[in-house]
Amino acid sequence: MSESAASTSTGNAGEAAAKRPAVQLLGITKAFPGVVANSDVTLVALEGEVHCLLGENGAGKSTLMNILSGMLEPDSGDILVGGAPVEIDSPRKALQLGIGMVYQHSTLIPTLTVLENLMLGATGLVLDVRGARARLAELAGMLGVQVDPDAVTGTLALGQQQQLEIIKALWRGSKVLILDEPTSMLTPQGVAELAAVLVRLKAHGLAVIFITHKLHEAVEMGDRVSILKQGRLVGTIEPGELRAASPEELQARIVRIMFGEATQEIADVAELERSVEGHRPRRELPSELAIELLHVSAAGDRGQVGIHDISLPVRHGEIMGIAGVDGNGQRELAEAVAGQRPLAAGEIRLDGRTISTLSVARRERLGLRYVTDDRLGEGTVSRLSVALNLVLKRIGEAPFWRRGVIQKGAIDAQASELVARFDVRTPSTETRLGTLSGGNIQKVLLARELSFEPRVVVYNKPTYGLDVRTTRAVRARIREQAERGVTALVISTDLEELVDLCDRIAVLSRGRLAGIVANEPGAARRVGELMVGRTVEG
């Protein structure tokens, strides 16, 4: 491993020195059947610089970076590393060329130890444990972080896991580091730590490509920002401009680049961005509880945290946010409420009546609904029609079934009505659900869960992965339901979303309730503190 020392010895390629291009993507085009993911994209990453790649979901950011990291091969275009043309046909090749990638979805194996994860892919017959320990100490020092080499990876906090991912990407002396949406799983504090790590990496002369869909992050973290839209590079903001303009000016400019002059969308984006600061006006709520959790505990799946001793009273018409870093028991809580996960202890009451032992179906009849975050994995059956998907929680019931026999007329009528009411864009109600876009699938889910008089609705990451317009529509739907007295439990890892929507925000940390915060000015900071386990006085 001759390059292993390179990353540390490159030294301080300071501001003054002319920055050399570490990697150049020239005219990259990549098409999938029916979709052009990248069209003639040119991108240059310089040494000692953080280059932000900004774009909406589906803009082609991940495809571009998967091409650079060898997971995909481009249809046309050239890649230059250190000025020389290369062909990257596998992740191994990318690593050899000094390109390390931190994927959006963890590539760590939770059942292995930290050291084993790092040694994965090593050459030689026998594992070199001693050498690996030394290398880990070296890199941890460079990043300014601490990692226990013998800890089982699955037990580490997500922030630590991400630091480990970065160490792993640098393990073989990478000079280019790609970070794909690295902040999506982090607490505000974790984001700050990541920013500190990036500064140290730049100082060591690494080129960092930072992928994000959040405007303010791109502006804050990047030395240079490139904007992708529908597979094309639509604009670049150079370092000089970035330093000269104020964050507000930059954001406004980026919005114009991303959405052109279409005013409606600018308004949408501006509103979404502004909600970081704003908070929801206090509403008058009745004092009766709609749903109440009393000391609820439930086991987690293998390797996942369960929930422990959660007590949560929610009033009629209240929007209660559930904040927390992903994987801290949110899904388990939602499933326990919906009846998909048995309680180990405690009680759940709906309108004062205990429902702890009722089945999923019985709870559904009582008006308790669950909009799952796993839309394709459990929320729908993709090879069935839109119409059938809309009644899948009522199989066998009148008027859709009589004596167990399907009544197509009734199902189609219901489907037509819901498709119109919830603005589902589908060729017909007979279309296979799997062919719809993510946003329309979410609308199908909402339509199904909000029909038949809902009383309490659990929304799990209701806008995750949706475009700006659908996000806005979904949030409006949640608010509108709340106005009608339908209680909502909104689980989200997006703090901005919770601040925008909720009356109060409960915080989950390692499966426990860390606290409940009223949505007042400063709520975001207090929630962030609770997320990392610091207690708040009062």
Binding site: F32, P33, G34, V35, A37, N57, G58, G60, K61, S62, T63, N66, Q104, H105, D301, R302, A338, G339, Q340, S359, V360, A361, R363, E364, Y370, T372, D374, L376, G377, E378, G379, T380, V381, S382, R383, L384, L388, L392, K393, I395, G396, W401, G404, V405, I406, R432, G434, T435, L436, S437, G438, G465
Partner: protein, 378 residues
Amino acid sequence: MSDTAATESAELAAARPGRLGALADTLVRSVGPVVLALVAGAVILAALGRNPGTFYGDIVEGGLTRGNGLQESIIRAAPLLLIAAGLIVVFRANIWNLGIDGQFLLAGVIVAGVASPLDDALPNGLALVLLWLLAGAVGAVWTLVPAFLRAYYGVNEIITTLMMTFIGINVANLFIKGPFRDFESTNVPQTSVLPVERRLPDLPGTRIHAGIVVALVALVVVHYVMTRTSFGLRLNVLGANPRAAVHFGLSVKRLIMVSFAVSGMLIGFAAAAEILGVWGYVRADWDPAFGLIVVPLVFLARLNAIAVIPFVALLAVLSIGGDLAARRAELPNDFLLVLVGLILLFMAITEYLGRKRELGQSYLTEGLRQSLRRRAGR
């Protein structure tokens, strides 16, 4: 990787051939593997020094053209069709019941053992109906352990059903050598024989027993249930996406137990057809081993209870004609196993090529592929 998900759904949208194209595609993918398997089988026969032309000619002669060949093939089709019906019910629900032989054999032995005494005590018609139901019950009971292990512990049912077959074969033998043994017969242990005139009635003017009618009715019923009823939809949902089934509030454990039991019942019926229609008794170590050879046909028919009929017809001809061909070629009659293995292999390859071209639907339900994802214990 939301980009990937987006492209996937776009691919799905793009991959919709016309109606005619789809039909041709289905035909190629269903018949292609059979033709390829026959060709590869011919190569193997030639390698063994047998003339493939003569061998296949003998199959056609034995299974179709010779005297009672066609009638014998139809008689053979009856149990095979009932087994196919039983498999469709579970496969649709994302469950691999591969314990067919155990369920079949045990049901057959118990029916054969009880047949004569019951027929002496009751009117013939009533006795036959009761025996038929008894066979169904035995088949269903033999699925209980794998069904329970799968439903409550998440233990992989492929393995447990295969195990239950090995146990079932031995338990059947114990019955034949113990309580059901007819000591007046030969020195190979066997049950008493139900006289020919007391067995299932023949269709008028033929030697074909009524089992084939029951089998065809069963397939039509299964087809109706799977496509038109809430029970069928529940099984389909469970098969397509087990986690969704939980989310929709289906009682997954009960569905697993019930579909397993229905499957075992239909396979028990198959045994009733074979014993009450053809043999009238069971001899020790008798095992027609119909089980695994029906599996590929069900997939070729894409788990469609009507479409499976022509495939079973072909298998029945191969099975009956194969006996004659093997005898004349002085080979064991296990050539059918080779053919079925080859059909499965070519089916998998054809499906791969089809998937490459992004056409049509797959042989397996989405969930069936993922059935192994389930681990023991959650």
